[in-house]
Symmetry: C2
Subunit: 467 residues, 2 copies
């Protein structure tokens, strides 16, 4: 019998034959991007179309690495009845220059193996059909194989990476702010509460798992403020939650927020500069990294979006004060459902008007009434109309994309508030501020997608938690 | 009165004076890394020490951008009583070469402004004291200003970025798998259940927010499998949850997992290769990006770790089968609390022994008994000892760092299971597999940190949800 050590060494040798000696596997994106014809390669993916002619069999295959399909050219003898729309295949062959102008390379198949057949009749996605987003939304487990959702999720992935890079490149420390919290940041709407499943079943014995009631976070701001007191510049990018019973196309129960917090800020301008840089850098990166995916949206979903966004990326964002915003609204020829009045919150109709008034570009509105905003925002100590250093970034078609403020760093202004919040002011307090950006709203805006449920992989909202 | 448009344009001019014209702000890290002396600069941060001599005042300041402090040299006349350990300061002055060997640059102060004083007596962190991690853990809102936690969180941030880059560079699509789910992936321990806070208060009216009971996710695997059916290679990196009533140093109620799923895998080797590459790439990146922070751990917390890890990064990981593992354990001179027997789960004591037996290096254990593993793992169809293609990666001091498997892609093997899971096999099913890595365990391992509560910004565990 083999001694134990000899045992694993033998196994090591047996399983670790390097792949390179066996085959060259290419993703569709790599095959399409190849400059030169290549010898024996293997491409794997799902069949998007089959066209059988007398002399030749054409397949289009896609593996999710790009919107474009790879054309496979084969001898008709390679056809078989399992080779249908939706089936998974492995194609071995040679990569050659394509004679067609539409593509660079095509694969001349030597063997085609159906790895997983597809019951085409039962499959809810149909070949060459442009399904409405409402239709594909019913199939949370299959909609990613639809072109639009495929592009969306590749863009979402690139945007995620670009957001991490932006902050990392600018010296921010990334913080995983907690999902479960015993705080409620700003009483922002309804909360989700957490119990162990036992507690939920038998609420009689009321001992909480954490000894205190615990909730799903509505914002990482408080935890970021803690960290900004040590690292100066910090950010988080994670899920946040609202238990609002809303079926609107703008709300989800679970959504993602990018939040940043900056110590030693001296004015709202510091905060606005970061928001604007973040938006422009991430958007440019996404546009240059997945041009074809973005084009799908700007061609079929929101045709006006492209030119507008290109203009937006070139110009400085507009800044108006809340006071000016109210003046603009009062002078508007339009009649509003909510009469614009100093001291009242801006309604969606007001935000839309302001954005239109400024030329359908992003607009910062700054310095809101003191009484409208939460306790932690910095008092501007102005008069007679008392304001705080708050800023909202409004964008066309969406409304509020980001919200931020300078935080009140002065201990006397905060007395009688949360003890830990005060503690942060007692031990080397610094002027600071921050903001949050709704990631789904960001994607809706840059891509012109109407419904927020179509920009997140698995949407959660009231009455719906599929999968 | 100004017209509205002229109004915001005027404001735009007034607030957008570029910072560069006013001052050069440097982070401590930038100041320390400067090659040449620099004219007027401003550095902001928190005082780490004050040393007043007759002729000169020395300050050390830190802004969280690095472990090292910047030395400030000033005239004693600049001293003031608020300039204490912990206070926040702004120092304006000239950056000059330091005469001391310990540092490259120092700041010759012209002005020192105390931005936020610190009540030193009340401040729980003391100057120059090396507080035990248990001590600082009591102050979730202040412990990030402790050196060890500061280094930890910078390393955590770099590791997070490196994980995103690793997968992005290798053509994986990032997926935000949902936090709230109506599934329970593998019945993994106790779940947290979610209710709106109203429901929690009045459980009599039992209409769920989502119409069905909803839970916090224990794994993103199912959702990743959905996505691997469209994008071939996908990953997620987010929070997962267990409601286990454990006070152990290895468990948290909320922790982070890196999970990947790969379609068209042909053997466990495909999966193990990704695990090994991920570990090595991320670890090398972290070591080279924050050498001083890593050094703190390898010098004071886990002195043996450095050499071992360097060896680990250079060698291939060991692979043994479950069968071999049991043989090794049976032949061991050591007596175990749980007698090693084919068909039984490996216990912590067994894992420890195996890792030691192989030379205190990472060890893959593959091909576990069919009856030990969940339904979705791929049947090896071997005999007489029936196994599945599962793999665990065991590492010294931690135990299981990653777990993965080939998934059962064959429809007949999965009948009578979850309908959606079956659907994924009906429409172009492909051989695939994946794995998960506990991010906190990863950090514990590479840094040699004993307690998992010290590698996450805000630890949550039973009876504790501070902040």
């Amino acid at each position: 019998m083999l001694g134990p050590r000899r045992g694993w060494q033998a196994l090591r040798r047996c399983v670790s034959l390097p792949r390179a000696q066996r085959e060259v596997r290419l993703r569709v994106r790599e095959a399409l991007g190849a400059r030169e014809p290549a010898g024996e390669v293997k491409v794997q993916g799902w069949v998007r179309s089959v066209r059988s002619q007398k002399e030749v069999l054409f397949l289009h295959i896609n593996d999710g690495s790009s919107l474009e399909n790879l054309q496979v050219v084969a001898d008709p003898s390679l056809e078989n009845r399992d080779l249908t729309f939706g089936s998974a295949v492995e194609v071995q062959g040679k990569l050659v220059k394509s004679p067609h102008r539409m593509q660079n390379m095509e694969l001349k198949a030597e063997t085609i193996r159906v790895v997983g057949p597809c019951d085409t009749l039962a499959f809810p996605l149909k070949t060459k059909e442009r399904h409405p987003l409402e239709y594909v939304r019913q199939f949370p487990h299959l909609r990613c194989r639809n072109n639009t959702l495929g592009s969306l999720l590749r863009i979402r992935s690139e945007a995620t990476a670009a957001i991490h890079s932006f902050f990392q490149d600018n010296g921010y420390v990334h913080i995983h702010t907690p999902i479960i919290t015993s705080n409620d940041c700003e009483g922002a709407g309804e909360l989700f509460q957490i119990e162990t499943s036992n507690e939920a079943r038998e609420p009689a014995e009321k001992t909480h798992f954490f000894d205190v009631p615990a909730f799903l976070t509505v914002s990482g701001q408080l935890h970021l403020e803690v960290m900004a007191g040590a690292f100066t510049h910090v950010f988080t990018f994670g899920p946040t939650f609202r238990a609002e019973n809303s079926q609107s196309r703008r709300h989800l129960a679970e959504f993602y927020m990018v939040e940043a917090e900056l110590s030693f800020t001296e004015s709202l301008e510091d905060i606005m500069q970061v928001m604007e840089d973040l938006f422009k850098t991430v958007t440019s990166t996404v546009f240059s990294k997945c041009p074809r995916d973005v084009e799908l949206f700007h061609k079929y979903i929101a045709p006006a979006q492209k030119d507008r966004l290109e203009k937006t990326l070139k110009n400085k964002f507009v800044i108006i004060s809340y006071n000016e915003a109210v003046e603009i609204l009062k002078q508007a020829s339009q009649t509003f459902t909510f009469k614009p009045e100093w001291g009242c919150d801006l309604q969606t109709e007001h935000e839309k008007y302001l954005v239109k008034h400024c030329g359908e570009v992003p607009v910062f509105v700054i310095n809101y009434p003191y009484d409208l905003k939460p306790f932690y925002m910095r008092d501007n100590e102005d008069g007679p109309q008392h304001t705080v250093a708050a800023v909202d970034l409004l964008v066309p078609g969406i409304g509020e994309l980001c919200g931020g403020s300078l935080r009140e760093e002065r201990l006397p202004f905060l007395r009688s508030r949360l003890q830990r919040y005060l503690d942060l002011r007692k031990f080397g307090s610094v002027p600071h501020g921050g903001f949050g950006m709704g990631f789904e709203r960001y994607l809706q805006y840059i891509l012109g997608v109407e419904n927020i449920k179509d920009v997140i992989p698995f949407p959660r909202f009231s009455h719906s938690c599929l999968l």
